[in-house]
């Protein structure tokens, strides 16, 4: 039979099926993991709807009732109701109290608001007053400034007047100065004219004298030579006398630098009086210059030759001062 192909197919199929069934029956195919099945859903917090049963038909069924049980149940029910009522009352009282408290709070807040408003008013009034005062103060300052400006104007006017006066004064002084300078120029001119005249006269006199002497010299040549020698000697003598006279009066400044020199031009009158001392070259040390100048003035009148001819050589002398030696 197995050799028939259809039989074979049926046989194997049946075998497989039987094996399959055996396997299925013997093994446990249940999974390991627990699986949640929606048998009953428990949502917390929600009240389970109470199944409302339809009102039963009015069928009087007399049932024996236990009085004690009923009384207990009634009492229990009463107690529960009382409890509920008390709870209600308490709740109401609580609510009332809260309402009162809230009302008082509100009143208080209103009062505070009223107070704050008052204060705000007061501050506003104070501010207004301050603003008023400031305005008045500013007005006063403006007035003062106006006064000051007026005063400054007046002062400026006064100053202008003074300046004008000063200008007039300076002009007057300038005129005076000019006059003085003119006068001085005039006197100087006179002096130079006089000096020129003197010199011219002297020249004329000298020329005349020279003429006479020439005539006399022809007679005595030896006498002329002798006179020249004598005058030269006189000049030397008087030079030494003058230097000594000045040196005797010259108080040297201490610690003076002995390498310094200064130069003076001295004009003498015929009697030896010092007419003028002029510093022609300073030494750089004003103390030294002044000490020499003082000495020259103090030594006046200087020894000069009496002979007019020889004296003429001493009218203008130049003195060089060099502090080399100190005596006593």
């Amino acid at each position: 039979m197995i050799s028939t192909p259809s039989y074979r197919k049926a046989f194997f199929s049946a075998l497989c099926l039987h094996l399959f069934l055996i396997v299925m029956l013997l093994t446990d195919n249940s999974s390991q993991r627990p699986v949640l099945t929606a048998e009953s859903q428990n949502t917390p917090g929600m009240e389970q709807p109470i199944a409302v049963t339809s009102p039963q038909s009015e069928v009087v069924k007399a049932v024996s009732v236990d009085n004690k049980e009923v009384m207990e149940t009634v009492n229990r029910l009463k107690q529960e109701r009382e409890q509920q009522q008390r709870a209600e009352v308490n709740r109401q009282r609580e609510l009332n109290r809260q309402a009162e408290a809230a009302k008082q709070q509100r009143v208080k807040e209103q009062q505070q608001l009223a107070r704050l408003k008052e204060e705000a008013n007061k501050i506003a009034i104070a501010h207004k007053k301050q603003a008023e005062e400031e305005k008045q103060h500013l007005k006063k300052l403006a007035e003062q400034k106006a006064l000051e400006a007026k005063r400054i104007e007046e002062l400026k006017k006064q100053k202008d007047e003074l300046v004008k006066q000063q200008q007039v004064e300076t002009k007057r002084l300038a005129d005076l100065n000019k006059k003085k300078i003119a006068e001085k120029a005039k006197s100087d001119k006179l002096k130079t004219e006089q000096a020129a005249k003197e010199r011219a006269d002297k020249e004329k006199a000298d020329l005349a004298k020279a003429d006479m002497e020439r005539k006399r010299a022809q007679a005595a040549a030896a006498q002329n030579a002798e006179q020249q020698a004598r005058i030269a000697g006189e000049v030397d003598k008087y030079k030494a006398l003058i230097v000594n006279a000045i040196g005797r009066n010259w108080i040297l400044p201490e610690n003076v630098n002995s390498s310094l020199t200064c130069q003076f031009r001295i004009r003498l009158a015929p009697d030896g009086a010092v007419l003028d001392v002029a510093l022609t070259r300073g030494s750089g040390d004003s103390l030294l210059d002044r000490s020499a100048q003082t000495a020259i003035y103090k030594a006046s009148p200087l020894p000069v030759p009496t002979d007019p001819a020889t004296f003429n050589m001493f009218r203008d002398i130049s003195l060089t001062v060099r502090p080399e030696q100190v005596r006593g």
Binding site: D206, L319, P323
Partner: protein, 419 residues
């Protein structure tokens, strides 16, 4: 022919303007004659004029010419010139309340009354003497070209001896001896006052704790500081020119030796060594060396210590006793106490060596102190057995004594230029 030449020569001579050239090389060293015209007739004016007169006389370089006798009004410059004055000081004082306005004019009496100097001041009544000293400084500087010392001060020790014992006082007075102020009073000796270079402090030795201690005191506030207080001698303090060090004599190591003490941090350094007595140190004005008295040569002589290398050299070789030496400010001379044949006088020697010249002759002179202008020496001497102060000029020409005070005055010290 020759006559013609001669007359031509004469003509030429007379035509010249500068006929002769003269040369002056010799003058004299003499005091400048000056006259102080009265400043007025009230007491303030007389005091001012008197102070100026005294100051100029004290300098030794001026000779006061007195005005015409019995004249209360101011004499003219011409009159004073006739009397011999080369310069004239004229002044005015006006008083308003407690203040004075003082003006003065210095005129050159010889050169036609040219004004050399004129100034005006406004002061409080109690500044009259200081202002008069300042005017003297101005006049002195204008006429001699040097800075005046009339606003400087002197410090000295005054000793009052009585039956109960002695009473010592460290005093500071004006350079003319007036206006003394006491900085310290003690029944035990005070010695060796020395001015700091800034003129604000004085160092001295005090025996108030029955032993020697060196202090410095502030002249203005009187506050003092203890500098050294070692066992034995603490003596002869001398300031360095920069005011930071004091050279002192200490005998803590046996013999008196010279040390320096830093005034600010107190650090000390020994300067001289050896077995002889070294004392009386004095810094040179350039701060590079110290002069001191030492017995290392057998007798007290002056030696010089070079601060850079510590070398000591001997300075004096004449006489058998030379001590208390100090340089003049220009460092050209040394002034010292010099004994010659038992006579103690003030001696002067050139800094580079040479003979010692005696400036004073009383035989009882000591403690010389040189003025800051280097011209005068202040020293202690005796007058009829009383200790007084004297001043002598370096050239020996001027010699004078300061006004006497109560008690004996000794150990003077001249301040540096102040302010």
């Amino acid at each position: 022919m020759i006559n013609r030449i001669i007359t031509l020569f004469f003509i030429l001579l007379t035509q010249q303007v500068f006929a002769l050239d003269l040369e002056l090389t010799q003058g004299i060293n003499s005091a400048l004659p000056i006259a102080i015209n009265t400043f007025g007739s009230d007491s303030a004016a007389q005091e001012a004029a008197q102070v100026i007169e005294n100051d100029l006389t004290l300098s030794g370089q001026f000779r006061i010419v007195s005005g015409p006798q019995g004249a209360n009004a101011q004499a003219s410059v011409g009159t004073l010139r006739q009397l011999g004055a080369d310069s004239v000081v004229t002044g005015h004082i006006t008083k308003s309340g407690n203040n004075y306005e003082i003006s003065f004019t210095l005129t050159d009496a010889v050169a036609n009354g040219a004004t050399l100097l004129t100034k005006t001041y406004q002061i409080n009544a109690n500044q009259l003497r200081p202002l008069a000293h300042h005017i003297s400084d101005e006049i002195y500087q204008k006429l001699t070209g040097e800075r005046g010392i009339f606003s400087t001060r002197i410090a000295y020790i005054s000793v009052q001896r009585s039956q109960r014992g002695a009473h010592y006082s460290l005093e500071v007075a004006d350079a003319d001896g007036h206006n003394p102020q006491s900085l310290l009073v003690s029944s035990e000796p005070i010695m060796s006052p020395s001015w700091a270079p800034n003129g604000k402090n004085i160092s001295y030795v005090s025996f108030e704790k029955k032993r020697a201690q060196i202090f410095t005191v502030s002249v203005e506030t009187g506050q003092r500081r203890l500098i050294t207080s070692f066992p034995g001698i603490n003596g002869a303090p001398a300031w360095s020119p920069d005011g930071s060090q004091l050279a002192v004599v200490l005998s803590k190591s046996g013999m008196p030796k010279i040390y320096t003490v830093d005034v600010n941090n107190g650090s000390m350094k020994q300067l001289t060594f050896g077995d002889a007595i070294d004392t009386e140190p004095r810094y040179s004005p350039d701060g590079k060396s110290i002069l001191f008295t030492s017995g290392r040569g057998g007798s007290p002589q002056i030696y010089r210590l070079s601060l850079a290398d510590g070398q000591v050299g001997r300075v004096t070789f004449e006489g058998n006793y030379n001590a208390r030496a100090s340089y003049t400010p220009d460092m050209k001379n040394i002034v010292m106490l010099h004994r010659d044949d038992k006579q103690f006088n003030i001696g002067l020697q050139n800094a580079s060596g040479g003979p010692i010249v005696s400036l004073t002759f009383s035989g009882r002179d000591e403690s010389p102190s040189v003025a800051p202008n280097g011209r005068l020496v202040l020293y202690a001497t005796h007058n009829n057995d009383k200790g007084v102060l004297g001043i002598v000029s370096l050239d020996g020409r001027i010699r004078m004594k300061l006004p006497a005070r109560d008690g004996d005055i000794q150990e003077p010290a001249w301040s540096p230029y102040l302010g």
